[in-house]
Amino acid sequence: MDSSILRIDGLHKQFRLDRATTVHAVNGVDLDLAPREAVGLVGESGCGKSTTARCIVRLEQVTQGKIFFLDQEITAMSQREFRPLRRSIQMVFQDPIMSLNPRLSVRQTLREPLLVHHLASGHEEMNARIEEIMSLVNLEPSLLNRNPRQLSGGQRQRVGIARALVTRPKMVVLDEPTSSLDMSIRIHVIDLLIRLQQQLGMAYLFISHDLSTVRNLCQRVLVMYLGRVVEMGPVEAIFDRPLHYYTQALLSAIPIPDPKTRRQRIILKGEPPSLTRLPPGCGFADRCEFAAGSCKQEQPALYDVGNGHQVACRHAAGLRS
């Protein structure tokens, strides 16, 4: 698709812990992101979503597979060649405390992207851009001279967002940006992110384990398990008519704040298998109610069930095993 801003083809990432153990973090992920689109990447810990994000921004080296950004194959580039492109792909990190240099003031933190990419000529233009981005994220200019330690959690995260946006990127990868924040602050940040996307027109790749945030922010969702995509589609389809058993369990696990709705909750048994010993077939088979014999032997492909909704399960797609 040439209209996509980001394209991932068959991404695999393995970490070698020592001679005997390899962690298979990402095992074949394909992804397409259109301009101005917000796509959510959800799953629980260990599913590979964070690693995928880090591969996209090249904080990790890809083991296998290709990533295309604006039709350029970034996986083939060296770090040096890729650096100028970083202006257009930015990342917001999970922990606002750790992702800001404690010794730099807010102003210095925001100045750096502009300096590195030569985006401002002279002090005045730089300050103007910094002040502009501060007001876009609803931070008072008086905070510019403060250190991260002197800011609240929500303010810090907004600085992180400002830093990502100051170069006016075309795409922003957000790795659990609200997970470390308190409940009441979370909504503010989500609201801000929605508004910013409308104002600045970037694409979002939103990584989270918090499904309720994803529901409110994204148009499409990919559900990951054990390094693979098990289901993907438009957000309404995934949330209202989930097909994969894991997606159903994931959604049913979230308590709904309404005492009158009584749901049949799916409680999965056991825990996911270790990433160092991937089962040969479907990674979910040992916890799945509907697992048939072939499920454990053959890895299911993503079956299209129409309307952009795909699911990696024969049974769920309504096919016979």
């Binding site: 970083r86 990342m91 990190f93 240099n101 590195v116 990419h117 609240s152």
Partner: protein, 296 residues
């Protein structure tokens, strides 16, 4: 967001008042007193060092055989030594030398050691392995013995003393900074800097190095005291600084001959001087360490 809400937000504003940074939140009043006392002592010594010729009327090198071994009096505040030289004058002039050596030694070790350590921790690989083995070898000798050996080989001059002790101390700073760097390298802001597009060298210099140097700085304050002792120790053994240059260790060495006889002022005052200096440096180091730990 209305302006009313903004003005009501009770954000904490930390106003930086230089010395307050160190003692703010000090757990005991005693800690605070210690700091100010140490600071006073060190500053006093620095003052003496800088203004030595103005403070003392006597020439520290001028010998006066008729006036040897005079007890402390109003004319000679600390008496005279075996050559008739005024002890007080020698003491004050020695302050210059001793402080200069201490600061130079620590400066050398800190700068070279931290840079090497930071680089080693950041780059890793073969460079790191080799450097660590060199550091291991150096550290297998006690610092003083190493300094002794080097001073003996290099010869007796002030520059060589600084070099010898400086090299002996460098491994500690290498280790400390490398350790911090290994920690800091994986923190999210290092990743964030990379994501922003900062080159690895700039990341190292602007982001990681300033954040890995704190333990080294604290150690440096301590090292000032140790350097003082090591210099004096070397001089006492006849290495490094040799008489007639006024240096506290030299003076103690000369005065030690009189330890059993009447002329107590020849060894007591230099010894006290060393004590005061080391005490001052250690006091500051202690407070710095407490402050850094509190911050964590």
């Amino acid at each position: 967001m209305t302006t009313r809400e903004l003005s009501r937000k009770p954000d904490a504003v930390v106003r930086a008042r230089p010395l307050r940074w160190v003692t703010r939140g000090a757990r005991s009043l005693r800690g605070r007193k210690l700091f100010f006392l140490s600071l006073f002592l060190v500053l006093g010594l620095l003052f003496l060092a800088v203004f030595a010729p103005l403070v003392v009327p006597y020439n520290p090198l001028k010998t006066n055989p008729e006036e040897q071994f005079l007890a402390p009096s109003r004319v000679h505040w600390m008496g005279t030594d075996q050559f008739g030289r005024d002890m007080f004058a020698r003491l004050v002039h020695a302050t210059r030398l001793d402080l200069m050596i201490s600061f130079s030694v620590v400066g050398l070790a800190l700068v070279v050691g931290s840079l090497l350590g930071a680089l080693s921790g950041y780059v890793g690989g073969m460079f790191d392995d080799v450097l660590m083995r060199v550091v291991d070898i150096l550290q297998s000798f006690p610092a003083f013995i190493l300094a002794m050996g080097m001073a003996a080989v290099l010869g007796n001059s002030i520059g060589n003393v600084i070099l010898a002790i400086g090299v002996a101390y460098t491994p500690y700073f290498v280790r400390l900074t490398r350790g911090e760097m290994l920690k800091v390298r994986h923190l999210e802001y290092a990743d964030a800097a990379r994501c922003v597009g900062v080159s690895p060298w700039r990341t190292l210099y602007y982001h990681l190095l300033p954040n890995s140097i704190t333990p080294s700085l604290v150690q440096a304050a301590l090292a000032l005291g140790w350097a003082m002792l090591d210099t004096a120790g070397l001089a006492f053994l006849g290495l490094g600084i040799r008489p007639p240059v006024p240096e506290w260790g030299v003076m103690v060495s000369e005065g030690a001959k009189n330890i059993l006889s009447v002329e107590w002022w020849t060894w007591l005052f230099p010894g006290l001087a060393i004590f005061v200096a080391v005490f001052g440096f250690n006091g500051i180091a202690d407070t710095l360490r407490a402050r850094v730990m509190r911050e964590e």
